[in-house]
């Protein structure tokens, strides 16, 4: 190191290039400038002879500015390409969501229209029977008193340090399944999760971090509303899921609450898509008779729903 320092100081005596990086750090200026200055000191260039060189160097400066501008434009042109694709996708998603909302709104309107027309066309008793069936199967909006079970994820606490306990303190799809099942067991006649009505074919599943109810994502806090008899809250509180969830809530900070609610309104479920079954077109008495005999379970719940169904 001492040698190279000497070399640096006595540049004229230097015989070999010192360590390249050391030289680079100590003396970043092109040595050519010093050489040129030394040459000029020996033979000064007069004014008019310096002009060509000066104009060339000005041209180079112009070229420099040009280069910077081009490079800047190039980089800017590349950058939007990436973010544009992203924002384009986001915009598409937003637009499709709006479209879906609009279409489902229209579907609801049409369904209400159909229901009204049907009610006008059918005789009173038949219409009432249909309404009850719809209420029982989740195809129609229902109103009544019941309970609301509220589940919410535990607040994120020291997630970065103890990442392990972030997992179990979230509400799982199986929790919602258990709550829904035990509410049915406690005598609920209609259940909705965050405004998504459950029917006989509803699914509660998880996809990654999200919970899907009937293939539509629901996010916490989850409110499971159920319409049923007055004893439902008591019976649900004694059910296995409620006990389990209370314990889980105590241990992990996840929140779980059951409260009675008056005058709940649960929306209709979307029309089920029939894949295999086809509606048979036959004289009206036989399907209704078959319906009555083939499905004692739903019809039982349907008749018990009649007060709430009639209330609409």
């Amino acid at each position: 190191m001492g040698d190279t320092q000497d070399d640096g100081r006595e540049r004229s005596v230097r015989m070999y290039a010192p360590d390249f990086l050391t030289e680079l750090f100590r003396n970043p200026l092109d040595p050519g400038y010093a050489d040129a200055a030394a040459r000029r000191a020996h033979a000064p260039v007069s004014g008019w002879r310096a002009w060509p060189a000066r104009s060339v160097s000005l041209l180079v400066v112009v070229a420099l500015g040009f280069l910077f501008a081009v490079a800047y434009e190039q980089t800017m042109a590349d950058e939007p390409g990436r973010s544009q694709a992203r924002s384009g996708l986001v915009a598409q998603i937003k637009q499709r969501e709006r479209e879906t909302d609009r279409l489902s709104e229209r579907a609801d309107q049409l369904r209400a229209e159909v229901a009204r027309q049907r009610a006008a066309a059918l005789s009173g008793s038949q219409a009432a029977r249909l309404r009850n069936l719809e209420a029982g199967t989740g195809m129609g909006r229902v109103r009544g008193d019941g309970v609301v079970v509220r589940l919410a994820d535990a607040p994120d606490k020291a997630d970065a340090v103890t990442g392990a306990d972030a997992g179990p303190s979230r509400v799982l799809y199986s929790d919602l399944q258990g709550v829904a099942n035990d509410l049915w067991g406690a005598g609920a006649e209609a259940i909705a999760i965050n405004g998504q009505r459950l029917t006989a074919t509803s699914t509660i599943r998880s996809a990654g971090q999200a919970i899907l109810v009937d293939y539509r994502p629901v996010t916490g806090p989850y409110e499971v509303s159920a319409i049923g008899p007055g004893s439902m809250k008591q019976r649900f509180e004694e059910s296995r899921t409620a006990l389990l969830m209370r314990e889980v809530a105590e241990k992990t900070g996840l929140s779980f609450g059951v409260r009675e609610a008056e005058d709940l309104t649960l929306p209709a479920a979307p029309e089920p898509r029939l894949r295999y079954a086809q509606p048979s077109v036959s004289p009206s008495p036989s399907p209704s008779g078959a319906d009555r005999s083939a499905s004692p379970g739903p019809s039982g719940s349907g008749t018990s729903t009649s007060p709430s169904g009639g209330g609409r």
């Binding site: 200026l29 050519g32 400038y33 040129a36 112009v62 500015g65 501008a69």
Partner: protein, 110 residues
């Protein structure tokens, strides 16, 4: 002063003409810019040191850009383009830093 005006003229020219860079030359553009920056800061420092020389400036600019592009091209052909451009950027970056530090000493005496 004239140099600054010339630089601005170049920028305006670049914006106004808005040339499209051929795809083959695109990888060399950033390296060329870094090399040009090195030449510029070297020139400014030389000016402040009162040893500026037009010929030296022109030659250093052109050779810097060409050599940088050549190294990147060579690296691309050898399959080590990324590493070689990193090397070029490191070397030129060190020089830019050193020259800027000298300029700063000139301007602020600190």
């Amino acid at each position: 002063m004239i140099a600054v005006l010339a630089l601005l003229a170049g920028v305006v020219l670049g914006v106004w003409l808005d040339p499209t860079v051929p795809a083959a030359l695109q990888p060399y553009l950033p390296i060329a810019v870094v090399a040009a920056l090195d030449a510029v800061f070297g020139g400014v420092r030389a000016k402040l040191d009162r040893i500026f020389d037009d010929k030296q400036f022109v030659v250093s600019f052109i050779s810097n850009v060409l050599v940088a592009a050549l190294i990147v091209y060579l690296g691309d052909q050898l399959g080590v383009g990324g590493q070689l451009s990193t090397g070029v950027v490191v070397v030129l970056g060190v020089r830019i830093f050193g020259n800027v530090a000298a300029i700063r000493r000139h301007l602020f005496r600190a």
